[in-house]
């Protein structure tokens, strides 16, 4: 039901790189799971409201009170590559072509 090409497409969307063997396994496993899930596809649920959240809350805005932030040293403490008070990452430039 899900083929190689679809697996590779979804993996790209999800920022995952799958090995050759993983692609095959994933195609089989996802097809199996979706085969089960497809049982709900045929239920007649015309007009039923979707539930995205069980707690019915109005959108709440907090009071506009000053609030401190994490000190930079603390926020950067777990960064894989902190650099002069910032998060360092490879250039996205190579993506633009």
């Amino acid at each position: 039901m899900i083929d190689r090409e679809q697996v590779l497409h979804v993996a790209r969307l999800a920022r995952l790189r799958l090995g050759e063997a993983e692609v095959e396994t994933m195609a089989g496993e996802l097809s199996g799971i979706l085969g089960h899930v497809d049982r709900i596809a045929n239920l007649d649920l015309e007009g039923v409201e979707p539930t995205s959240h069980v707690v019915q809350l109005e959108n709440v805005l907090r009071a506009d009170e000053p609030w401190t932030s994490l000190p930079p040293r603390v926020a950067l403490a777990s960064a894989p590559e902190p650099y002069e008070g910032a998060f360092r990452a490879p250039s996205p430039q190579a993506d633009v072509d």
Partner: protein
């Protein structure tokens, strides 16, 4: 096992408050117990630290950056209060809760070495009530699993039989409590992750109403379903922990709290209470031994004055399908944050940004997490959104309506917690769908957001086991309407007293040292 560790949390807290036992002696006894972990239940303990991790919280050595610094979320690290309802009680914390300065991995290699800059509200509330962090417990990676075999740090062993799984995803928490390595533990439940491991380990597990306890600092899996709750040896301890942790939190706008709070339960009978048994249970795939214990428990309810009624949950059978669309869809969004930039693992060196993202995530995530991210991304992708995610959300509405209708006729809905007793390590890893069906009885309540408790109801031999095979715990699930936790705890307390599970098991219980050797 010492007498101190035989006490329930409520008993110990009362004795500490009365000055009958010393908080430090009690704490030491549990720290020693936790340090003797042979079940891989802990990833980090206050006594030892994690593997290769210096115990900086003990001696202040090798403190991480930011240690001792005030943050908007409180002092670093948080110190337990001197007094309160849990004064001196050490509690094991599932490794999905952030703990300031203490390693927090959510069972994933992608967060190896991560020391969060703040502590989860649920944990803060426990320490503010005097509790101490005993250790961080092993779990399925990002809470995705029903056997604890998806942990990036190895599986947890069931203390009743070390060849079997403890259930998941709060498997480390359940094994720690059942194995006598913690007096109580915190877990999280998205589709059954507190109740199922509690059942497989013969202890009590409570999933409160969605919104009863703050999710702030609970690493997100499926945000519309995740809820934290206690795993304990008895119902009273579950009520005690809930009473401390519940409440609205300005840092989680979906938190509501429980109006009127929670008191320790005292229920001894079930007179005038109506219990609904879903008629769909008749055709459900269920081990014979589990069915026998369920029916015997139903008989006990009637002996206690409860009334048994048949109800219908016609859409519950589609719960697993809806859940395995909604939860992965939310997970695929939530897990986008693990990109190798702000915390955790980074791989891919000096290539471009996209290459770094893909390398980091491919090396950092385990197979089940990748599977769920793929499933969720597919279900949300263009052309499939309505057929999968939209349809699943409508099924969710129907399931919630089924419960609403049932609760017009009954006070509680009762089912087995899990279709089987604890299964063997590796028994279900090859087929994801057979693993997912473990959550058949627990997922509907999660989708409806209602509270449910699992209590141990008896022992049964595994399906197909020969005559005289060792028997394993069977859980019984009671579900109640949203925010009816007090009523639920009273009923569970009465039933627990009549079943006398702990007394019946006696010294054979692993927390008494019975099955540990």
């Amino acid at each position: 096992m010492s007498e101190l560790t035989d006490l329930s949390v409520a008993e110990a807290a009362a004795k500490i408050a009365a000055g009958e036992i010393s908080a430090d002696e009690y704490d030491s006894a549990w720290r020693a117990a936790a340090a003797s972990d042979e079940l891989n239940a802990y990833l980090w303990t206050a006594e030892h630290g994690g593997e290769g991790e210096p115990d900086w919280t003990g001696d202040g050595e090798s403190a991480p950056e930011g240690e001792g610094e005030a943050t908007p979320y409180g002092a670093n690290p948080p110190a337990p209060a001197d007094s309160g309802p849990l004064a001196g009680v050490p509690i094991a914390i599932k490794d999905i809760f952030t703990t300031q300065g203490i390693p927090t991995t959510a069972g994933s290699r992608i967060l190896e070495g991560y020391r969060p800059p703040y502590t989860a509200t649920a944990v803060n509330k426990l320490t503010a009530a005097g509790a101490r962090v005993l250790g961080k417990t092993n779990m399925d990676e990002f809470a995705m699993g029903s056997s604890n075999e998806n942990s990036g740090y190895g599986p947890v062993l069931n203390p009743w039989d070390r060849g079997r799984v403890p259930g998941g995803s709060s498997g480390g928490s359940a094994a720690a409590v059942a194995g006598g390595l913690a007096p109580a533990a915190l877990g999280t439940d998205t589709g059954g992750s507190i109740r199922q491991p509690a059942a497989l380990c013969g202890i009590v597990g409570l999933k409160p109403t969605y919104g009863a306890i703050s999710r702030f600092g609970m690493i997100a899996f499926a945000s519309s379903l995740d809820q934290c709750g206690p795993l304990t040896r008895d119902v009273t301890d579950a009520a005690l922990l809930l009473s401390v942790m519940q409440g609205k939190d300005p840092r989680d706008s979906t938190s509501v709290g429980i109006e009127g709070g929670i008191e320790l339960p005292s229920g001894v009978d079930l007179k005038g209470l109506r219990f609904g048994v879903p008629r769909e249970l008749g055709d459900a795939a269920l081990d014979a031994g589990v069915r026998t214990v369920f029916e015997a428990t139903v008989a006990r309810i009637e002996e206690l004055g409860g009334e048994i009624t048949e109800i219908g949950l016609p859409h519950a059978e589609h719960g697993i399908s809806a859940y395995y669309v909604i939860a992965p869809a939310e997970a695929s969004s939530n897990l986008a944050r693990y990109d190798g930039v702000r915390y955790g693992k980074r791989a891919g060196g000096d290539g471009d940004l996209l290459e770094m993202y893909e390398a980091t995530r491919s090396e950092g995530f385990g197979p089940e997490v990748k599977r769920r991210i793929m499933l969720g991304t597919y279900a949300l992708s263009s052309g499939y959104y309505d057929a999968y995610y939209g349809q699943a959300q409508k099924v969710r509405t129907r399931i919630a309506q089924d419960f609403d209708t049932a609760f017009e006729a009954v006070d509680f809905v009762i089912t087995p917690t899990s279709p089987s007793v604890a299964f063997g390590l590796g028994e279900k890893t090859a087929d994801p769908m057979s693993m997912y069906l473990n959550d058949f009885f627990t997922v509907p309540m999660s989708l409806a957001g209602i509270p449910a408790i699992a209590i141990p109801a008896g022992l049964a031999a595994p399906e197909g086991a020969g005559e005289g095979a060792p028997r394993l715990p069977v859980g019984f699930q009671i579900a109640a309407p949203a925010f009816a936790e007090q009523k639920l705890l009273e009923a569970a307390h009465a039933l627990e007293g009549a079943l006398g599970f702990a007394a019946a098991v006696g010294d054979a219980a692993p927390w008494k040292g019975g099955s540990r050797g």
